[in-house]
């Protein structure tokens, strides 16, 4: 019984994070998608993966970006943090949307540029999350 109580306290303690820390934790998936899309685009340019796979990945990433954008807007985190996160999410949404068009047009130069932008946005979002979690 005591063991269950300890676990209950642990769960409560962990779920009682500050709004900033909670928001930081939720940024892992979109940051991972930004880096993931950059790699997938790089592989598409090297003819290592098919277009259908890239398109499915873009769909899944777009869902994740939309979901996170909604949760950031509803978050109680500090406005400074929310604005910084929303800026990176908007940049990622723009780059991934541009990448979709570039892939349809077989424009490899644009895909490479969008890929770099996504990788940068992913890095910056990870840094923001690390700072907020401290």
């Amino acid at each position: 019984m005591r063991r269950f109580a300890v676990i209950g306290i642990l769960v409560a303690a962990c779920s009682g994070q500050s709004p900033d820390a909670k928001l930081a934790k939720s940024l892992d998936a979109p940051a991972s998608w930004m880096s993931g899309l950059a790699m997938i685009a790089e592989k598409w340019s090297a003819n290592s993966v098919p277009r259908a796979y890239v398109e499915k990945s873009l769909d899944a990433a777009a869902d994740e970006f939309d979901k996170t954008t909604k949760s950031v807007r509803e978050s109680d985190a500090s406005p400074l943090l929310r604005n910084a996160v929303l800026k990176q999410l908007a940049a990622a949404q723009a780059s991934s949307s541009s990448m979709r068009g570039a892939i349809e047009a077989n424009d490899r130069a644009r895909v490479a540029r969008d890929s770099r932008e996504l990788a940068d946005a992913g890095k910056q979002l990870s840094e923001i999350a690390e700072d907020a979690a401290k």
């Binding site: 063991r3 269950f4 676990i7 642990l10 769960v11 962990c14 779920s15 892992d28 998936a29 940051a31 991972s32 998608w33 880096s35 993931g36 950059a38 790699m39 997938i40 592989k43 090297a46 003819n47 290592s48 993966v49 098919p50 259908a52 796979y53 398109e55 499915k56 990945s57 899944a60 994740e64 990788a119 992913g122 890095k123 990870s126």
Partner: protein, 405 residues
Amino acid sequence: MKKALQLALGILTAVGGFFDVGNLATSAQAGARFRFQLIWSLLFATILVIFLVEMSGRFAAVSGKALPSAIRDHLGFSFWLGPFVILTLVHLLVLGAEIGGISFALQLVTGIGFQWWAFPVAIVIWLFLWRATFSAIENSTSLLGLITLCFVVAAVVHHPPLHQVAAGARPTLPSHDGATYWFIAVSIIGSVIAPYLFYFYSSGAVEDKWDKSYVAVNRGISVIGMTFGSAIALGALVVAAMVLAPRGIHVSDYNQAAAMLTDAFPFWGFVLFAASMGIACLGAALEVALSLAYATSQTFGWNWGEDLHPREDARFSLTYTVAIFLSALIIAAGIDPLKLTLFTMVINAAVLPFVTIPFLLLMNDRRLLGTNCNGWFSNAIVVMIVIVSFVLAIVSIPLAFIGGT
């Protein structure tokens, strides 16, 4: 000579049949998030699974009985009913995760959403079970499963820093994301020590008509087969650590892992990943569906056997038919296959005591096993498994909420 051939085939099938969706998902996540730091949990689970698989094979070879029927006969129906119900639910989730893995592999190749593949995949699995014999299923899928060795080759191609890989074998505390670290560690253990494995292995030994002369063959298959099988999971972890971790990709979706072999094999990497995932999950799905039908039939005393015509064991065949279609429903509903897999692997770890306690009681029953009873060393290992399983059961579910991804 015949035994040596059976040993070789047994090892090959154990290696080819080891890797499944749980190993792939947990190894990719572990490598991508924590590089080599979680290798210890894979090694720990491998040692335990070697002991448990050896015991289930030895039990079947000496007693001539599969585990569920022996538990029912010797410990009583009412003792077994609770664990049986829990394990059946877990079997259904694992089967759903494997169907999700095959469906996702088909999505990778065709671009058609995975949920659309759930029922066609279910029909293929069902046809396999309806038409094929036990040895045909075991040998074909497991030998095809050797394609998963591509993860080992890719790991070697990447020249991982060996001192860091070796350091990962020593358990260490995480420097970041503690809850996620323990969640993945538990998932890895749950993916390697899957309960279905023991029912399938012991029932398979009965199907293959093993007797006492197979005790040594069983030991060889368990030790060598499981060790090499685990090397494939280690290969996937190393590849994820070398390819995904440096790019900051944490694998929150199977799509993020699908290109992980393309650094090592630029042209074939993507196809190899999809083929490995599809074949490994197909083999595992067949094993899980059979395991569920074995356990149910043996629990209720029905006729059972994959080598019998469906008309001779109608309830056995009906059981796997219903199980396959129920599990396919989970995927057809659009539940994320990766999330389902990770959740299921944690549940696998949580229910281990239900498998290991009755198992330990039987392995010490001299009326059943005579001189082949467990020695003190095997008992100590199983007791340790029970304790670790219990602790895992306590911590894994809260961790699923705190650190689950």
